[in-house]
Each structure stands twice: as C-alpha cells, then as structure tokens.
C-alpha cells in the first residue's frame, strides 16, 4: 500500500501530468503534489502521484557512506 518507487520523468504534460519510466515501464502520473519538476528529474511515485523529488546528489552521498562504513568495520577494530 505504502510502497512507492523512484521514477524518471521523461515528459511533462499539460494539466500537471507527466510521463515517467520505472524500470523500463512507462506510466502517466500526476505532478499535482510537487512543483517545478522537469524531464530528467527523478520523483517518488505512489498511487499514481509524484510525492517528492529524489535528490541524486544526496543518494550518491548515502551510497558512499554505506561503502565507507563497510570498509571501516572491516578494519582492525
């Protein structure tokens, strides 16, 4: 129910709608809950609506932190 997936916005359509791609599957969703979304942005989609934008820079930072934690923990602690 609460599951939602990151989707790539491929086209912004009239009436606050957009075309997105989720793992190769195309879908039309609503942008009524977000502002200033452009093609190329990633949004998190839930029951047909974009809930928020996904920040690629923060995603990279989080992944880098995971990698670093694993390396530190493997060291002579």
């Amino acid at each position: 129910m609460c599951l939602a997936l990151p989707a790539l916005v491929t086209e912004v359509l009239p009436d606050d709608m957009a075309k997105v791609e989720i793992g190769g599957v195309r879908q039309t969703i609503s942008l009524a809950l977000v502002s200033d979304v452009a093609p190329g942005d990633y949004v998190i989609v839930h029951v047909g609506y974009a809930l928020t934008r996904l920040d690629p820079a923060e995603a990279e930072k989080t992944l880098a932190l995971f990698a670093e934690l694993g390396v530190t923990a493997a060291g002579p602690a």
Partner: protein, 380 residues
C-alpha cells in the same frame, strides 16, 4: 533500476552488517520498532534479521494501513457497496480483508455488488465521469502518503462539479499511532513492548517531513531514524539507532535524505489541510480509540463526503477472538505466536488483516520468514 538496485547491493550489505556487529554492545539489548509496514516487508523479504547480532531485535509496528483499519469500517464499506446504484472502488489490498461474518469486498463483488479495484484516485474520478448514472464511492484508506492523492481527487471533483463521486474517508495519521504505542501500559512492562528506538517511515516522511517525530525524541527520549525502503536503508537506520543508544542520545536522524526534508512537502500538506479536518477520535485495530488520529472531510467538501451522502453504519465490531492482529500491531506478539498462523490463516484464506497486505506482519512472515525462523527462535 536506478535508485533501487544500488540500495540492495549485497557487498554493501555485508559491510553494513559488519559495522552493526561492531557497534553492538554485548552487555545491552536493542529493541527497535519499524513503524511502517513497508519496512516490515523489506526486513522479511531480504532476511535482514539474519544479518543482525542476536541482541538486536526488530519489532513490527502498526504502520500497515490495511491492517489497522477496524472491522467496523470494512463492514461500512461493504454496506456502501450494497446500496442501490453504488460502485465502490478502492486499492487492491482492501478487497480481501475479512469483515463481519468473514465477508470481504471481494465476496460482496461475487454476490453481485459493483466493487472495483483502482490503482489511483484518478481512476476513480475517471469512472465517475464515464458512468454518470452510477454513484462512484472511493473507499479511501492510508497514512499521510495516500492522503494527498485523495485530497487532489476531492478538489477536482469539486472543480468539475462531479455530483456522482464521493469519498468514504478513513485516512489516519502516523504520529498519534507512535504516541499510542509509547503510551500503552504494555510499553513499560516486562513482557510488553520495551522499545529503545524507532525506524521512521519512508514515504510518509516525504510528505510530513522529519519534524513531527521530534516530540518522540525530545519528550519520550526515544531515538528515531527515518529510513528509505530498500534493505541497505533499513540497515543503516538500525546502525544509526544503535549508535544513538550507545551514546545515550535521542534525536531524530534522517537516513532518507535523498527524499525527506525536515519540513516535508508543503504543497501536499496545504492540500490536506484545505480538504481534511481532524476527527475527535477514531478506532484503530489493535490500538483502540485514539484521539485526533484520523481525518474527516471538511464542510466545504461535504457534497463529496460519502458519510454525509449516506447514513453509513458506525457501530463498533469486535475482532475475531482467535486472531492476534491487535497484539501484533502493538508489537506485543509475533505472527508465529498466533494459533491460526499458517493453519487456518494463510494469504489465500486470511482470517485477519495482517495476513492480507504484503506489508502485514503475518503475510510478510508467511511469505519470507517462516522457514528461516523454523529452527532458531531467539528472543533476547
């Protein structure tokens, strides 16, 4: 898939598991509640409990929206589906929840009621436009994630003067449910649900932000870590909570910074505030009547409120006595402790709500966990 696969990487998971093992103080036990059913599902699906030291225990919380809706509200939806000219539509999971007399919306459909599954409120509005001769009632459920889409639908119905559309509103709020768990008499008791920290929901938090959890950190002195739904997100949040516990800190931390801010989604919050008001009280399965924990439709949208269009029945109904969903939703019992689990109750033939949705603790344990834990029950 971008932003999904990277957060499921096995090598990174092993590294995080090492970091968690290194952080675990053998002199302590860590009892962490994942509030949200999406996290329950991820923990079971990826076998995260197997990667945790024995003194770190995950406790499932009440954040499965399908699970917490009481039988009376499902009875009411079935009652609505039986009214003349009504087409009742709802999200898929709601169709199979057993209500009084083990009737579900699916059974009502088999009996001839017009019940439809929709993917989105937009589908419900489209049905109303296509079928002006029918009364389209959207059976709305869910936490703050699913509420803004219902608000958008009500705004559109009003703007378009769609007289044959209405919403049976059952939206509930996350913070009062967390407070109810912490305030419950079981919270302090020996056999009850002692909690050392919370994993905060992912997508609910994209809407409400991280600020609403601050009272739990400040007032209740419980650490909170908001996490995304992928397995690495959950592991990182567990590590963040363990660090806070070891340091004696209690703050709201945010692992899901790629999507959650402190303020949340202001546009969605404004829409919710415009369309909905707080109910004085609302019944939750397992948690009972909780004050100011659910939303009703504001007077400005009264013509689209199914509870005003029909005299919807509203009598409380007792849960099936043998079903332990209530205790499971409070974090007091685990699915395998229910006598019906896996015998009388399976996903194909659910007796209680927790066995229906993929996010329900019983369904998640049935699908992914039952073989793993068969030989090695542990309980620090």
């Amino acid at each position: 898939m971008k932003y999904i696969d990277e957060f499921r990487d096995g090598a990174l998971a092993k590294g995080l598991a090492r970091a968690i093992a290194a952080e675990a103080d053998p002199a302590r036990s860590y009892r962490l509640m994942e509030f949200c059913g999406g996290h329950t599902h991820a923990i079971s699906r990826y076998g995260l409990e197997d990667l945790l030291p024995p003194n770190v225990r995950m406790i499932h919380g009440p954040g499965c929206p399908v699970c917490v809706l009481p039988i009376a509200r499902i009875d009411a939806a079935i009652w609505l589906a039986r009214q003349d000219g009504v087409t009742l539509c709802t999200y898929g999971d709601m169709m199979r929840i057993p209500a009084s007399g083990r009737i579900s919306l699916l059974k009502a459909k088999a009996e001839g009621c017009d019940v439809r599954m929709v993917q989105s409120t937009m589908d419900a509005l489209a049905l109303a436009r296509r079928h002006p001769e029918r009364q389209i009632v959207f059976f709305a459920i869910g936490f703050e994630t699913t509420t803004p889409p219902t608000a958008v639908a009500l705004k559109q119905a009003q703007a378009q003067g769609l007289g044959n559309f209405s919403v049976f509103c059952n939206h509930v709020l996350t913070p009062p449910a967390i407070a109810a768990i912490l305030d419950s008499p079981e919270a302090g008791s020996e056999n009850g649900v002692r909690l050392d920290g919370f994993i905060g929901p992912a997508h609910v938090s994209t809407v409400i932000g991280s600020r609403p959890y601050e009272p739990f950190a400040d007032g209740y002195r419980k650490p909170v870590a908001i996490a995304g739904f992928e397995p690495l997100d959950v592991m990182q949040a567990i590590l963040m909570l363990m660090r806070q516990i070891n340091d004696g800190r209690h703050a709201v931390e945010n692992e899901f910074i790629r999507a959650v801010t402190r303020e949340g989604n202001a546009k969605a919050q404004a829409l919710m505030a415009e369309v909905f008001r707080l109910r004085d009280t609302f019944e939750w399965r397992g948690l009972g009547l909780l004050p100011r924990s659910a939303l009703a439709i504001r007077d400005a949208f009264a013509p689209w409120d199914a509870e005003r269009r029909w005299d919807v029945p509203d009598q409380p109904v007792a849960d099936n006595k043998a079903c332990e969903c209530g205790a499971i939703l409070r974090g007091v019992k685990r699915p395998a402790e229910c006598k019906l689990f896996g015998t009388a109750c399976t996903p194909d033939n659910p007796m209680g709500s927790c066995m229906v949705s993929a996010e329900g603790a019983c369904a998640a344990h049935w699908t992914y966990g039952r073989f793993r834990t068969a030989g090695k029950e542990r309980r620090p």
